[in-house]
Each structure stands twice: as structure tokens, then as C-alpha cells.
């Protein structure tokens, strides 16, 4: 019954609009607001919501819209006040918006969305398993004489353990530690991210597990020290993630500070020590394996994380008064 008022292909809609339509979903309220939702591209009227509580949020409006268009769940809706303007946040309240008694909003479909947990899972499991394909020398990767053989070098096994541990740790953190602020990510992004993670994992695994792999120039010494710094950076990264998670436990934004854990003392010097430790871990892995593609991957990661760290750093400075001025974004005293 309701669908006839909100069917995008219904021409009846235009003529009925003038006579006013009612929605049966609005919450009872004395002063009612009206919301009309137009398609951002075609400007066609998609939905008219009558008797909307002015205290409802954009999230509520999205839920109402979803009822008439079940293919567009709230996470894939973008509602804006101008057809090409910024998308409204879910927590904005209708009556606080610069609209009249009838609010006109423009709808854009953001495409299929996936939860952050799903995204991270796909990225990390893919990277982890791809590496293992090379470690076990699955046929058709290397010459067939080497299929299912193992490398004579202990460092190759060690590298596999480290790499697997790194991604297992990330998976555990995704399940138990991280609190995600945004609900979802578009499908295209997950495909792009997976290509990046899986692709690089394959590329560096190819060389580490290659039959013609050459172990590090300084032998045992190089491997041992790199392993120590790798372990410390992983611990450091985990400490920071846990500390940030505790900080945001009550969804109130608090300034990240060093705690009793010595690994968190890096907060004295940088805003994003988790990225610092991450770069450190990959640099250690590079030295441990002495493989150029790993160095290249580390460099790419460093560039991306620096961009993120600088953004967060600026956000922290804006948000918290008296933000420690000695802190840099990612590298103490330098960057």
C-alpha cells in the first residue's frame, strides 16, 4: 500500500503529490515536520514523509526511507540538503537543520556497503593465506621440481612465522580490540584494498620463499636483532591499540596519553605511535629477510600511514586544548 506513494517509476506520484500523501510511520508528535526525498541526479521525488518528529535524526529518516525502498539499507544511503552537497551525518537532528517545515533532501545510493569487520577480515585472511601458498610452494608458482619442498634456510621459516603472526594479531585485534567509528565501507574500496594486501603479500612471499633465495648478508646476527626489534614493535603496536580502545570505551573523545606500559611512552613523542610501531615492524621484517620487495612494501605503507597520521595529528590539535606541542605525527621530532 505504501509503495504506491514511493515507487520511483510511478507517474501517479507526481499528480498525487499535490493532494498530499500521508506516511503511517512517523512517530506521534504535536508539531510535525515533513520530509521530501528527491533523487540527487534526476531530482525525481522518491518519497514524501509526513508527520515526522522534528527531533528525529537523519538516521531515523534513513530508516523510514528504507521501509519504502528495502534495497537501499540505511548504510548505503547518503542524504544531503543540496543535490551535490555534503552528506548529512546520521546523528544530526532534523529541527537543527536549515530547512523549512518541509525539508527537501537529496538521496544518493552509495552502493553496496560492507562492515569494517568484514573488510578487515577479508584483507588480512587473504594476505595471510596468500603468503602460505608460497611458503608451502604450491605447484605452478615455482619450477615443478620445487613443488611442496621447503627452503633449507631457517630464516625463511622464521619469516613465515612472523608474517603469519602479524596478520593473526591483526585479526584478533579486529575481533577483540578495535572499536569502529563508521559502520561501513563501499564495496569498491574493499576490492581495491584486498588487491593491495593480497597482491603485495604474494609479491614479497614469492621472493622470500623462492628456491634461489639468498639469506641476509650478515647472517645470524642480522636475523636475530631484526627479530628482536620485530617482536618489540609488534608488542608496541598491540599496546597502543589496547590503550586507544580503553580510551574510547565510553564513546567520549579523550586525548591519548602514555600509561604505565612503557610501550605507550611513545605517546610523549608522537600522536600515532601505532603507525610508528607498524613501520618499525615492517622495517625489521625487511632487515630480517633482506628482500627488496619487502622494503618497497614498507615504503608504501609508511607513505600511507604518514598521510593518516598527519590527518589524525591535525584533528587532535583541533580537538584537544593544550595538546602537547612536542608531539609529532609519526616520527619523533621529525615528522
Amino acid at each position: 500500500m505504501f509503495s504506491e506513494y514511493c515507487n520511483p517509476h510511478s507517474k501517479k506520484l507526481e499528480s498525487k503529490y499535490g493532494r498530499g500523501m500521508t506516511s503511517h510511520f512517523a512517530a506521534p508528535s504535536c508539531e510535525n515536520a515533513k520530509v521530501e526525498v528527491l533523487d540527487a541526479k534526476t531530482k525525481e521525488l522518491l518519497c514524501f514523509l509526513d508527520k515526522v518528529d522534528p527531533h528525529s535524526t537523519i538516521g531515523d529518516i534513513k530508516s523510514l526511507f528504507y521501509k519504502s525502498y528495502p534495497q537501499w539499507y540505511p548504510a548505503r544511503q547518503a542524504l544531503r540538503l543540496e543535490s551535490k552537497g555534503k552528506s548529512l551525518r546520521d546523528d544530526e537532528i532534523l529541527q537543527n537543520l536549515p530547512v523549512g517545515t518541509t525539508a527537501t533532501m537529496y538521496f544518493k545510493d552509495l552502493g553496496p556497503q560492507l562492515g569494517w569487520t568484514t573488510v578487515f577480515f577479508a584483507e588480512y585472511i587473504g594476505a595471510l593465506l596468500t603468503y602460505l601458498l608460497f611458503f608451502f610452494r604450491v605447484p605452478y608458482i615455482y619450477s615443478h621440481t620445487y613443488a611442496f619442498t621447503s627452503s633449507p634456510h631457517p630464516v625463511v621459516t622464521l619469516a613465515c612465522v612472523c608474517h603469519t603472526f602479524h596478520y593473526m594479531k591483526r585479526l584478533m585485534e579486529t575481533i577483540f580490540v578495535h572499536r569502529f567509528s563508521h559502520g561501513t565501507m563501499p564495496l569498491r574500496t574493499i576490492i581495491k584494498n584486498c588487491a593491495y594486501y593480497w597482491g603485495f603479500s604474494a609479491w614479497l612471499a614469492y621472493y622470500i620463499n623462492h628456491p634461489l633465495y639468498t639469506p641476509p648478508s650478515y647472517g645470524e646476527l642480522q636475523i636475530k636483532y631484526a627479530l628482536i626489534t620485530f617482536a618489540m614493535c609488534e608488542m608496541g603496536n598491540l599496546s597502543i591499540h589496547m590503550s586507544l580502545s580503553n580510551l574510547n570505551r565510553f564513546r567520549v573523545r579523550r586525548c591519548p596519553m602514555p600509561t604505565k606500559n612503557p610501550f605507550t611512552w611513545l605517546f610523549f613523542f608522537v600522536s600515532c605511535p601505532n603507525y610508528t610501531y607498524e613501520v618499525g615492524a615492517w622495517m625489521s621484517f625487511t632487515v630480517m629477510t633482506q628482500v627488496l620487495p619487502v622494503a618497497i612494501y614498507t615504503l608504501f605503507g609508511f607513505i600511507q600511514m604518514t598521510i593518516w597520521a598527519k590527518g589524525k595529528h591535525r584533528a587532535y590539535i583541533r580537538e584537544f586544548k593544550d595538546y602537547p606541542s612536542v608531539r609529532m605525527a609519526i616520527i619523533p621530532l621529525i615528522l
Partner: protein, 244 residues
């Protein structure tokens, strides 16, 4: 954005047209005018060099050698355009400009210069001619735009010649890379094999094949983008409803 004119051939730059919102300052404009005039002159030198060499020899063969030096100089000089975008005096995407200039520089140095046997191929003349005509038009277009005196003829040429020049250039480039393949495979040019200390390998032969394959998705996109731009820029009033 509606008047942002896009490039010809492989260079789709966004323009410093007369409808710019916040253009470069006076000093930057003067510099850009000089830059574009110099580039126009340079490519004219190459054009004249080609014609003279053809008249002198009486054949199309081996004309590359007569313009090798100015070609390298002026095509490499185009790297400055990446800097222009990065600094902000030209409102183009650094990534897009970078990609296009690098692809030209790649063909000039990493293919044509590096592999002598390829230099006498006719395909080289094909892309050099396409580039020359394109660049003369493109740089004069920028010059006139910066001076706010753009003759319609130049605008028309920029948005029309590409229809022939772009496929011509792409064909020349692909045929040249294809001609280079056997020599690269034989000599192992720019290739690194295992085992080595840094556990890295690179096969230039495979890389060139990948480059050739990449033309398949990229060329149609750029070409049809240019065609759409042409409709926008040269299109008449009956088309204006399609603009934004």
C-alpha cells in the same frame, strides 16, 4: 569546471582557461607563457627538422636521427608540467599529468633511446609525427589561453586533430614497443635475475608486454573522454543541457 578544456592525444590536462576561478598570479602567468612559447617553438623545430630531413633524403626512413636531440630535450622538458601541477600554478591533477608525461618520457628514453635497432623503424616516425603536431597545437593553445586571446581555430584544432592523432600515436607507440621485444629478450636489457643479494628480480621483456596490454583499457577511456570534452567545448547551444 564546465569550460575546463581537456587535452589532446595522450595529454589530458585541465586548462587555465579564461573562466578560471583562481588562476596563477601575474608572475606565474608570465612564467607559464614563456614556458608554453618555448615548448611550442621547440616542437616547431622538431617539425621543421622532420620536413627538411624528408626533403633532403627523399624517404621516410630513418628520420628519427635528424630530430633525436630536440625530441629528447623538449619531451623531457615536459616533466616540468608535473611540477606546475604540484605547485598549483596549473589546475591539473598531478597524478594524471604525471602519468601522461612519464609515459611519453618512457617511450622516448626507455624504449627508443635504449634500443638502437628500433630507431630506424617507421613506427617511430608515426608516433613522433603524432606527438609533434599534437604538442604544437597544445602548447599554442595554452599560450593563447593564458593571454586570454584564444583564436577559435586553435581551440577547434586542439579538440579535433586528436581524433586522428591519438590513434596514430598509440599505433606508433605499440608497434615500436613490439619491435623492441626481441632485442630486449635477447640482451636481457634492464633485467635483474635471481639469485642476488637483495632477492629481487625484474624482467623488462614481461614488463613491456604488460605495458602494451595496459593500452587496452586505458586508450579507449582517454579517447572517449576527449570526445566528450569535444562535445562540451565545441558543442553549440543545443548541447548545453548536457553541460553539468
Amino acid at each position: 569546471m564546465s569550460a575546463a578544456a581537456q587535452g589532446t592525444s595522450k595529454a589530458a590536462h585541465s586548462d587555465v582557461g579564461p573562466k578560471k576561478k583562481k588562476g596563477p598570479g601575474a608572475l606565474a602567468t608570465a612564467y607559464l607563457v614563456i614556458y608554453n612559447v618555448v615548448m611550442t617553438a621547440g616542437w616547431l623545430v622538431i617539425a621543421v627538422g622532420l620536413v627538411r630531413a624528408y626533403l633532403a633524403r627523399g624517404s621516410y626512413h630513418g628520420l628519427y636521427y635528424s630530430i633525436e636531440k630536440p625530441l629528447k630535450f623538449f619531451q623531457t622538458g615536459a616533466l616540468l608540467e608535473i611540477l606546475h601541477c604540484a605547485v598549483g600554478i596549473v589546475p591539473s591533477s598531478v597524478v594524471l599529468t604525471g602519468f601522461q608525461v612519464m609515459s611519453r618520457v618512457f617511450l622516448t628514453w626507455a624504449v627508443t633511446h635504449s634500443i638502437r635497432e628500433v630507431q630506424s623503424e617507421d613506427s617511430v616516425l608515426l608516433f613522433v609525427t603524432a606527438w609533434t603536431v599534437t604538442e604544437i597545437i597544445r602548447y599554442s593553445f595554452y599560450t593563447f589561453s593564458l593571454l586570454n586571446h584564444l583564436p577559435y581555430l586553435i581551440k577547434w584544432a586542439r579538440y579535433t586533430f586528436f581524433i586522428v592523432l591519438y590513434p596514430m600515436g598509440v599505433s606508433g607507440e605499440l608497434l615500436t614497443i613490439y619491435a623492441a621485444l626481441p632485442y630486449v629478450q635477447k640482451t636481457g636489457l634492464y633485467s635483474v635475475t635471481l639469485p642476488n643479494k637483495y632477492n629481487f628480480s625484474f624482467d623488462y621483456y614481461s614488463f613491456l608486454i604488460l605495458v602494451m596490454i595496459s593500452y587496452i583499457p586505458l586508450f579507449p577511456q582517454l579517447y572517449f573522454h576527449m570526445i566528450r570534452q569535444r562535445k562540451k567545448v565545441l558543442g553549440h547551444t543545443e548541447d548545453y543541457s548536457k553541460v553539468e
